[in-house]
């Protein structure tokens, strides 16, 4: 009833091609953005910004990057955390070594550096596919972590190899309190998500999907493999790189290469799988699920069992519940949380008169 596009006529090409063709979607998006930029900063507290919102948004950005590569272009990758590390260490070194480097500029260039590294490790994708490709990206993960640990130059010769992010000042405005860091993160993530949404509907995005669905057919109809696949690696690594820079600067404030280990890559991959392959919304839902659920379980386990069950058991129960819930959601909806939303949307369009 409410969610129906009847009566919304498109009379120009522009209207027909806009990103969100349904008016309700546009209103909902505007409402979410207003809530994110105005209401949440007014109502939230430090805990919510620091522990919930900032990490979810950053990991959603990384998941978005992987989703471009895996969900849209069909190239399986296990190196996302490695590219995040490149972004984090890249931004730190740019700030450190280039005089008068603006923070946003360093984030952007860190993304470009990550993209360059991504291109390099994307080269094997021209010859190999599927799980074999996953193994070569796994090499990226290990090589990057090894190089950042091995060469002290990357961490400015810190004895323990930990970098401590510089202060973020943009146009004289300091982003040091949790709420300011949240607003900065949200702005970057919103802009990049919008760019991704646009990108996947463009010629490039369609080429990616064609490659994903059948690369031989795509080649036959004239899609250049080299450019398309490498572009997917480059763009994906750019997103991961910016996410890594934000992880270091806006979230933790200090990172070591081990913060971006294989577990983090898997975590991002799970976000894409649980959230929904080939869906921008899915990246956000997946990140929320993977980040928030363990925290929620930890809070409930401790308030539920306090005293009754030993803490070690409670902690292990949490882990088991987390695994069980992942299996449950994937069994109910193998295409991820985004698909659940899509199904719901289709039902809503018919409601209250399903036929």
């Amino acid at each position: 009833m409410i969610y129906r596009e009847a009566g919304q006529f498109k009379s120009t090409y522009k209207e027909d091609q806009q990103i969100f063709p349904i008016r309700q979607d546009r209103i909902a998006l505007a409402a979410i953005l207003i809530a994110g930029f105005v209401l949440v900063p007014l109502a939230g507290n430090d805990y919510w910004f620091n522990a919930i919102l900032i990490p979810s948004l950053i990991l959603a950005l990384a998941a978005l990057g992987l989703n471009i590569l895996t969900g849209y272009a069909g190239q399986l990758s296990l190196g996302s955390a490695g590219f995040m590390a490149v972004g984090a260490f890249g931004a730190y070194n740019l700030m450190l070594r280039v005089p008068h480097m603006p923070v946003l500029g360093s984030f952007f260039l860190a993304g470009i550096v990550a993209a360059a590294v991504g291109l390099l490790f994307g080269l094997p994708s021209l010859r190999i596919k599927g799980f074999y490709l996953a193994v070569t990206t796994l090499a990226a993960q290990f090589v990057i972590e090894w190089a950042l640990t091995k060469f002290a130059w990357f961490s400015n010769y810190n004895p323990s190899g930990v970098i401590s992010a510089q202060k973020m000042v943009i146009l004289g405005y300091r982003f040091d309190s949790p709420v300011r860091r949240y607003v900065l993160t949200l702005s970057i993530v919103a802009v990049l998500a919008l760019a991704a949404k646009n990108l996947v509907r463009s010629r490039v995005g369609r080429a990616w999907m064609a490659v994903r669905d059948m690369d031989v057919a795509a080649e036959v109809i004239g899609i250049p493999m080299l450019r398309t696949k490498l572009l997917a690696f480059g763009v994906s690594s750019f997103y991961c790189g910016v996410a890594g820079a934000l992880w270091a600067f806006a979230y933790l404030g200090s990172v070591e290469p081990q913060a971006f280990d294989l577990t983090r890559s898997f975590q991002i991959l799970f976000m894409v799988i649980v959230g929904g392959m080939g869906s921008i919304l899915g990246s956000f839902l997946g990140a929320a699920f993977i980040v928030l659920l363990p925290i929620f379980l930890n809070v409930t386990a401790h308030s539920l069992f306090s005293g009754g069950v030993s803490q070690s058991l409670a902690s292990n129960l949490e882990l088991m519940a987390f695994g069980a819930l992942i299996i449950f959601f994937l069994a109910v909806e193998p295409f991820g949380l985004a698909r659940l939303w899509q199904t719901g949307k289709e039902k809503l369009r018919l409601w209250p008169f399903p036929h």
Binding site: D46, L252, G253, E256, Q258, N298, Q311, S312
Partner: protein, 447 residues
């Protein structure tokens, strides 16, 4: 077969109701005369053995104080656990979740993870909550002028390293005998593992021995090539800077290539029962550093046994065999240092719940001499500690222990670290940090 179903569905309802109640009533009734100590611990994951042991001892000590003395000067101690899984992001989440708990907020944080400690230094300094890192964390935080809220109490990694070289010197018959000796530093490929490379290089130059650094990539369950390299090099000593599974594997592989275990010296994160028992006989003779001994032969441990584990009481430890183990005793030491800091602060600010800022003063003026340690029943369990604005470490001595196949035997007295090497490095590193962050170091004469 209808009944079990009915029961299970009823159980589900009860579970759901509990969940709702738990969420609704999770805000506890505020009792005013309580001091809240957050426990950001880890009970699952690859390092769970360290987490359960240390936090077990820590919590049991607080429990014992509550039951014996009613807390500290009548202020009851409360705590709440929070699982970090030894991960930095989960640790930061725990920090933010717990920092405002209790009538005066969190008194201090102990993460028992170098990574989480690093991640929380700036946050905690801004929030005015002390971060204590006993035997881990940033070594240069010993300079309290730059790090007012960070306390790497007892000894840091660099101090340990100098004490270890002194121990090797003693074993060789004098520091001048170190000349020409060959030492290999086998380290865990992480921030923690790399921390002692510069100080070993410096000492090598000073005493004229050669040191070779060999990295074992995390987690370290395969060390064949490293130990073959060691066998070829034929070093006089091997320093084992391991963590978790790397330690028993190192000992087993050393046995395989025939390197004598009594010439392997581990750091204190390689020297718990959990590090040697999986290696079985291969661990016999292995030497490790310790800033405290194992064993139950201390009045404070007997007090815990009496008040927390007898008469139907149940402490935090699940396996009583671990009572008095290295990790457990380390936890008791955590308890003593944390609560004594609160006690010191209470002497100045009054016998009431204190804020993190007030506890910080207590930490900076913590002075545990031998007399006080005897009163606490921890004489010889802990070395005398005197913290000051300049020196947030306060102790700096290390003992060495040898594994005889069943337990750790102490084989040395307290060996002082060489602060003439450590302190300039600490100050240099802290000054670099201050410059990078734009911090003006405090003037300690005005404190």
């Amino acid at each position: 077969m209808k009944e079990p179903e009915a029961i299970s569905s009823r159980l589900a309802w009860v579970g759901a109701a509990c969940l709702v109640l738990g969420v609704v009533f999770s805000a506890p009734a505020l009792a005013q005369n309580e001091q809240f100590i957050p426990m950001a611990d880890y009970r699952i994951g690859p390092y769970a053995a360290g987490g359960t042991g240390t936090y077990g001892g820590f919590i049991d000590y607080l429990d014992m104080l509550n039951s014996r003395d009613g807390g500290i000067n009548g202020v009851k101690l409360t705590w709440e656990e929070c699982e970090t899984e030894y991960k930095n992001d989960r640790g930061v989440e725990c920090y933010d979740r717990r920092k405002k708990k209790g009538p005066t907020g969190a008194a201090m944080f102990n993460f028992r993870s170098t990574g989480i400690t690093y991640a929380c230094i700036e946050r905690a300094t801004a929030d005015k909550i002390p971060v204590i890192s006993i035997g881990y964390g940033r070594a240069d935080a010993s300079d309290g002028r730059v790090f007012p809220y960070v306390f790497p109490l007892v000894t840091n990694y660099w101090s340990q390293s100098t004490a270890k070289i002194r121990f090797i010197g003693m074993k060789s018959g004098g520091m001048d005998k170190l000349k020409g000796k060959k030492i290999i530093n086998l380290y865990h490929g992480s921030a923690y593992g790399k921390e002692t490379i510069p100080i070993l290089d410096l000492q090598a130059k000073k005493y004229g021995f050669t040191v070779t650094h060999i990295e074992v990539p995390h987690p370290g369950n395969e060390q064949e090539s490293q130990w073959l390299q060691i066998r070829q090099a034929k070093p006089d000593w091997v320093i084992l800077r391991g963590w978790g599974v790397m330690n028993p594997v190192a000992l087993k592989t050393a046995a395989k290539v025939g390197y004598p275990r009594d010439h392997i010296i581990g750091v204190w994160w390689s020297g718990a029962e959990e590090d040697v028992t999986p290696a079985g006989d291969a661990a016999k003779g292995y030497i490790a550093a310790a800033f405290h001994p194992s064993g139950t032969n201390f009045p404070v441990l007997q007090d815990i046994q009496k008040r927390v584990y007898s008469g139907g009481h149940k402490g935090n430890l699940e396996d009583m065999k671990r009572f008095g183990s290295i990790y457990y005793n380390r936890g008791v030491i955590h308890g003593i240092l944390n609560t004594e800091a609160i006690r010191t602060a209470q002497a100045k600010f009054g016998k009431k719940p204190l804020t993190g800022e007030q506890v910080r003063w207590g930490l900076e003026n913590l002075n545990l001499d031998e007399k006080r340690l005897k009163e606490l029943g921890a004489y010889n369990l802990l070395q005398p500690i005197k913290v000051s604005c300049m020196d947030h470490e306060g102790g700096g001595a290390v003992k060495f222990q040898q594994w005889d196949g069943k337990q750790w035997k102490l084989i040395s007295d307290w060996i002082k670290s060489d602060q003439s090497i450590v302190r300039p490095m600490v100050e240099e590193s802290a000054a670099a940090y201050a410059k990078e962050k734009g911090i003006t170091p405090r003037d300690c004469s005005k404190e």
